[in-house]
């Protein structure tokens, strides 16, 4: 295994985050904090509690998931798309690194960034709302699994995209609506029965539900189903990665 190669990619990507700290770290933290203020304090004061949890605290897991997913997607997709766009991908293709090592480097860096961001947002949330974490190990498991899976998904989007519009279309037009409709701001019990059934077809619901369970012990669906859903999505992403690297899709001529 080319450990030096993996480390080179990882460090290069982490250095990029350092260079763009305002955009990569400060901006998502500020925008998520705004959610805490607006939804937690302003609207939360009228909604009171959901399943015994103050509304401000109830939305924290959903908002954390929202940031984690979006940042993982954008970090990883941009990381692999940019070398394709400016032409520096030639160096990676001509280097003695396997495709799996490339994935480990890029996805590892993107997931690390998202986890750092998640930790900062969690600490920030503590400043605004009363938080408790009942199952910290499960919470960490969800955080890591989600960061890795969505970074891998982002990597695939970056490989697939051949222009900047395509790079944005899935995160903005598919993932964002799924996160907002996946119970980030509400429990699906609050929806009419028909929409409850529709919500069950949204895979993001399972992630948010499981993640929220690790905080407060309340969930829309069983936590094992949530873990199974994220594991299934991870498996699908790995399968797609394997296929892309086997065929050289959009990488090699």
């Amino acid at each position: 295994m080319n450990l030096q190669g993996i480390l080179a990619i990882y460090r290069y990507e982490m250095a990029r985050t350092k260079r763009t700290v305002l955009q990569s770290v400060v901006s998502p933290v500020v925008s998520t904090s705004l959610y805490f203020v607006v939804f937690g304090s302003a609207i939360g004061s009228r909604i009171q509690e959901i399943d015994g949890v103050p509304y401000g605290a109830f939305i924290v897991p959903g908002l954390l998931m929202l940031t984690l997913m979006m940042q993982s997607l954008s970090n990883a997709s941009f990381a692999i798309y940019f070398p394709k766009f400016i032409g520096t991908i030639f160096e990676m293709l001509s280097a003695p690194v396997s495709f799996y090592e490339i994935v480990i480097g890029y996805v590892g860096a993107a997931a690390t960034k998202s986890l750092i961001l998640g930790a900062i947002i969690l600490l920030t949330a503590w400043c605004f709302v009363p938080l408790r974490i009942e199952y910290p190990v499960v919470m960490l498991l969800f955080l890591v699994l989600t960061a890795v899976t969505f970074s891998l998904f982002g990597f695939l989007i970056g490989i697939w995209a051949d222009n900047f519009e395509k790079l944005q279309v899935i995160p903005l037009l598919v993932v964002t609506p799924m996160v907002f409709l996946g119970g980030s701001f509400y429990s699906i019990d609050m929806l009419p029965e028909f929409w409850q059934t529709v919500s069950l077809f949204n895979p993001v619901l399972y992630l948010i539900s499981g993640f929220r369970w690790s905080f407060y012990g309340i969930a829309d669906v069983n936590v094992w189903i949530s873990l199974g859903a994220i594991a299934l999505f991870l498996g699908l992403c790995l399968l797609a990665t394997w296929w892309i690297f086997k065929t050289g899709y959009r990488i090699k001529k």
């Binding site: 080319n2 190669g5 080179a8 990029r16 030639f90 160096e91 990676m92 293709l93 003695p96 090699k252």
Partner: protein
């Protein structure tokens, strides 16, 4: 075909290298080369290589070529001839449709880690991350190729390419020539045995081009095998040991540069006449003489490889005809003229 390792052959080559090496260029690279397992030439062996793109365009049509270790090989060809495709396949960027390539005796597909670690590539395009620094990007390149950090080597390479002073500035602030040199620095960061230079001096000024030639010569002294593609024939003429001409995906010719120029070159003899001539006398028509410079020069083109060049009889006949001259010069055909005639002949056939 690649032969199994023969220590004595490489040892002799290595001794030759030491003898030719001059300080300070008698460097880490040479020392490192002496520690490697001995391998006989060629360093690159290409057998029946073909490439057909998805569009159906056949870029390479069964290329067979051996590159010797330590040589400078110039690959000439017009645009779209297949030069970049050939290089891209050897480096792992493009997948071959058929055929086999060995680098240092290892297959580029099966043993890609070993072969790619031996190769450095300087592509045609100036593809760099504008927001990075030269130092960081060279460190990155070295790591990517599996080498442990070696600040001394990176420093030496950046100094060699006159980029050390710019090491901490953003790449976007570098001039085009500096970016070109940075691409070479990146390719040399992992101390490759083989360096591919794909149009290295395209778009750079004359002074920088000369610097680049000097650098290539230094690298050769270090024992690096260099494969060069270029549009500037004078570049190949100035640097290459051997020349290959590729056109429409076929390797038309591979030849020692000097032998090629001697074998295929024609020579022109120019006589500066004392009195201008209005027309060439009839008796000289068969010789294909030409008048130039408003009749003040008489030009005779002859084949250097012919049994008789016809010079003696021509000079004798001119004296008989009363045509006097005050000076005589001869000029060998340039590689460019040879290249153009080869490519043209290929196009016609």
């Amino acid at each position: 075909m690649f032969a199994p390792p023969q220590p004595h052959a490489k040892a002799a080559a290595a001794l030759g290298l030491i003898a030719r090496c001059k300080p300070p260029m008698c460097s880490v690279l040479t020392a490192r080369r002496l520690q490697r397992p001995f391998v006989t030439d060629p360093i690159i062996s290409i057998q029946g290589l073909t490439k057909t793109y998805a569009s159906g365009f056949q870029a390479l049509k069964g290329i067979d070529l051996d590159i010797r270790e330590g040589e400078i090989f110039a690959l000439l060809g017009p645009n779209g001839a297949g030069k970049t495709t050939l290089i891209s396949i050897i480096c792992g960027i493009v997948t071959a449709s058929a055929g086999r390539v060995l680098v240092g005796g290892y297959d580029i597909v099966r043993d890609y880690r070993k072969t790619r670690a031996m190769i450095g590539l300087v592509p045609q395009e100036l593809a760099t991350d504008s927001f990075e620094t030269p130092l960081a990007t060279c460190r990155y390149s070295r790591g990517l190729f599996g080498r442990k950090p070696n600040p001394a080597h990176i420093e030496k390479t950046l100094k060699q390419l006159s980029l050390w002073d710019k090491r901490n500035g953003m790449i976007m602030a570098l001039s085009g020539g500096m970016k070109r040199r940075l691409m070479i620095a990146k390719a040399l960061s992992h101390e490759p045995r083989v360096l591919f230079l794909d149009e290295p001096t395209a778009g750079v000024d004359v002074e920088l081009r000369k610097d680049m030639w000097a650098l290539v010569e230094e690298l050769r002294r270090d024992g690096v095998t260099i494969i060069l593609t270029t549009h500037y024939i004078e570049e190949a003429e100035a640097m290459a040991d051997r020349v290959g001409v590729i056109n429409h995906g076929d390797l038309i010719l591979v030849e020692e540069k000097a032998a090629l120029m001697q074998k295929m070159g024609q020579k022109r003899m120019v006589l500066d006449l004392t009195e201008p001539l209005a027309a060439i006398p009839n008796r000289f028509t068969a010789l294909g003489l030409e008048l130039a410079n408003e009749g003040r020069q008489l030009v005779y083109t002859y084949d250097t490889q012919a049994e008789r060049t016809g010079i003696t009889s021509l000079l004798s006949d001119l004296r008989d005809e009363g045509i006097r001259f005050r000076d005589l010069t001869t000029k060998q055909s340039s590689l460019e003229e040879i290249f153009v005639s080869l490519v043209h002949a290929g196009d016609v056939s």
